[in-house]
């Protein structure tokens, strides 16, 4: 079985490939061919350091890196100098928590939620400890969605930043960004979105979303590993402190002190992940020209097939809402541990994730040790879903 996007994913052509039914896309998607080709070309034809060399190879590498930055910016409908290459979403959010958060004072407040991945929680806890600010938490409802009514009660004029997930990596719930932004604007607070799960569903239109920071990872949107993006408005970046010091991020260095380069280079100390960034640019360019409605319809149909199959099995509990969700489905099976379920599914060639998914507060919210998570991508087909359901039946037989 193939999908309209299968031909673009080289892993599907590997004979006897490991984990043939790959449903761990919330952790890492497979790389798309243009990204792989760009990555290889960058490492073979363009490998040189950037921004300093006068030789042809260095000039070409610099041009390719900056073209990748422009490609990301175009897809996100923002300016190139507002795109910072990071190692991933975690790095991007830490960069904001340090570089922007360091200017906060006691009495200031940052709002996060109980739905957050640790990457969008722990950096703010660290900031709260460093700067003596208040950290407030938006609760999660029974369907695994943000309780936005509670959020609207919580936000006040002390709030400087609202840092929320764009879509949950456990419940799949998609955040009502317009409602969040409206509440934040009313008190002059900024909004950061963790786009790790949402960005692969089509490049975010940051102009339309109206947020101030956006973070995402290459390995979750069909690009290379070890690369990600932080976007922030130019005026916000201009006021941010660098997190790492070293080469490339300076304007002038003397023995008595240093001054900083303008963004984005202020935040890209040292040699950047050049080839990975070029690969990411190619992945996002590929994604931006796909039929996103068709992709969404494909994912929705398969998610419904999965949810319907799960509903027919009595021992299974599905977290997350019926509507307003992406193809990330977390389940529990009464009497079976998520790792054991994942292990049995592996026997069926089905790759899923078991555990707390770096969301321990969310597990506490539902009084769970963990869940088993199945997550879809454009190359997922009905055979993958059916193999997963067969594996789940076997897990129920073996473990309960």
């Amino acid at each position: 079985m193939t999908t309209p996007w299968s031909a673009d994913f080289p892993f599907l052509a590997v004979p006897d490939r490991l984990s043939p039914h790959y449903l761990d896309n919330a952790a890492t998607t497979q790389i798309v061919r243009p990204a792989l080709d760009a990555l290889v070309r960058a490492e073979v034809e363009l490998r040189a350091n950037v921004h300093r060399a006068v030789h042809a190879r260095g000039e070409a590498a610099t041009a390719a890196l900056e073209a990748a930055r422009s490609a990301v910016a175009a897809a996100f409908r923002v300016q190139g100098e507002e795109i910072i290459f990071t190692s991933g979403t975690t790095h991007a959010i830490n960069l904001v928590a340090y570089g922007w958060g360091q200017r906060l004072q006691p009495g200031d407040r940052v709002i996060v939620s109980a739905l957050e991945h640790h990457a969008n929680l722990v950096p703010w806890q660290m900031l709260a400890e460093r700067r003596g600010i208040e950290l407030s938490v938006v609760p999660v409802d029974e369907d695994g969605r943000l309780d936005l009514a509670a959020f609207e009660d919580l936000i006040d004029h002390q709030t400087r930043l609202v840092a929320l997930t764009h879509a949950s990596n456990v419940t799949g719930a998609v955040t009502d960004v317009a409602r969040v932004v409206a509440a934040a604007r009313a008190v002059d607070a900024l909004v950061l979105l963790d786009g790790a799960q949402m960005a692969r569903h089509g490049p975010p239109d940051l102009e339309a979303l109206g947020v101030d920071f956006y973070a995402c990872s290459g390995h979750k949107l069909f690009g290379p590993t070890g690369i990600g993006v932080l976007w922030a408005r130019r005026a916000v970046l201009a006021d941010m402190l660098p997190m790492l010091g070293g080469g490339s991020m300076i304007r002038r260095v003397t023995l008595s002190g240093s001054t900083w380069a303008d963004p984005p280079r202020r935040f890209e100390a040292g040699t950047p992940p050049i080839a990975a960034a070029i690969g990411l640019g190619a992945a996002i360019s590929w994604l931006s020209v796909q039929d996103h409605s068709a992709m969404a319809a494909h994912e929705h149909a398969l998610t419904e097939r999965l949810l319907e199959g799960l509903r027919q099995r009595q021992q299974i509990r599905v977290l997350g809402p019926r509507r307003g969700r992406i193809g990330v489905v977390a389940i529990t099976i009464e009497g079976a541990h998520p790792h054991d379920i994942a292990q049995v599914l592996d026997q069926h060639g089905v790759a899923v994730r078991g555990g707390h998914h770096c969301c321990q507060p969310l597990m506490d919210r539902f009084d769970l040790d963990g869940t088993t998570r199945l997550s879809l991508a454009p190359y997922t087909d009905a055979a993958d879903i059916d193999a997963a359901l067969a594996g789940i039946d076997d897990a129920i037989r073996q473990l309960t």
């Binding site: 998520p338 054991d340 292990q343 555990g355 040790d369 963990g370 073996q398 473990l399």
Partner: protein, 139 residues
């Protein structure tokens, strides 16, 4: 291979309640957490003459983690935990996970050797046992 992991003997150990809970007279307690998966083992010990003569446990974890904990508790019920028996436990686990010789009571855990991602599940009770033994030493 993973086909053999969930054998009846392993599942039986995971469900074994013989040493679950805090035994009477237990004055020592040690806990080990696996931060990657959130699994947790708590061991309770009754100390006598510088060794642990009875041990109880609560394990929140996978089949492998629970079974390893139950097997350790059964060992301690037969032979007290002291520096020598704890070292033997570690040595037996090392050999098992390296694919080497397997102690008779650990046989149900042997298939886990083929799954490096599950080795921490096998060892979690041993981490807690180290803590329990430290508590004896400090007492």
């Amino acid at each position: 291979m993973s086909e053999a992991l969930y054998q009846p003997a392993l599942l039986a150990h995971a469900k074994d309640t013989a040493h679950v809970g805090r035994p009477e007279g237990a004055s020592l307690e040690a806990r080990a957490d696996n931060p990657l998966c959130g699994d947790r083992v708590v061991l309770f010990g009754v100390a006598q003459a510088g060794q642990i003569v009875r041990m109880g446990h609560t394990a929140r974890g996978c089949v492998v983690c629970k079974a390893a904990t139950a097997i350790l508790a059964a060992r301690v019920a037969a032979v007290p935990l002291n520096a020598a028996t704890l070292a033997a436990w570690h040595r037996d686990l090392d050999q098992l996970l390296a694919g080497g010789a397997v102690a008779v009571d650990l046989a149900p855990l042997a298939p886990a050797a083929a799954h490096p991602s599950r080795h921490a599940c096998v060892r979690l009770a041993a981490v807690a046992a180290d803590g329990l033994w430290s508590a004896v030493s400090e007492a």
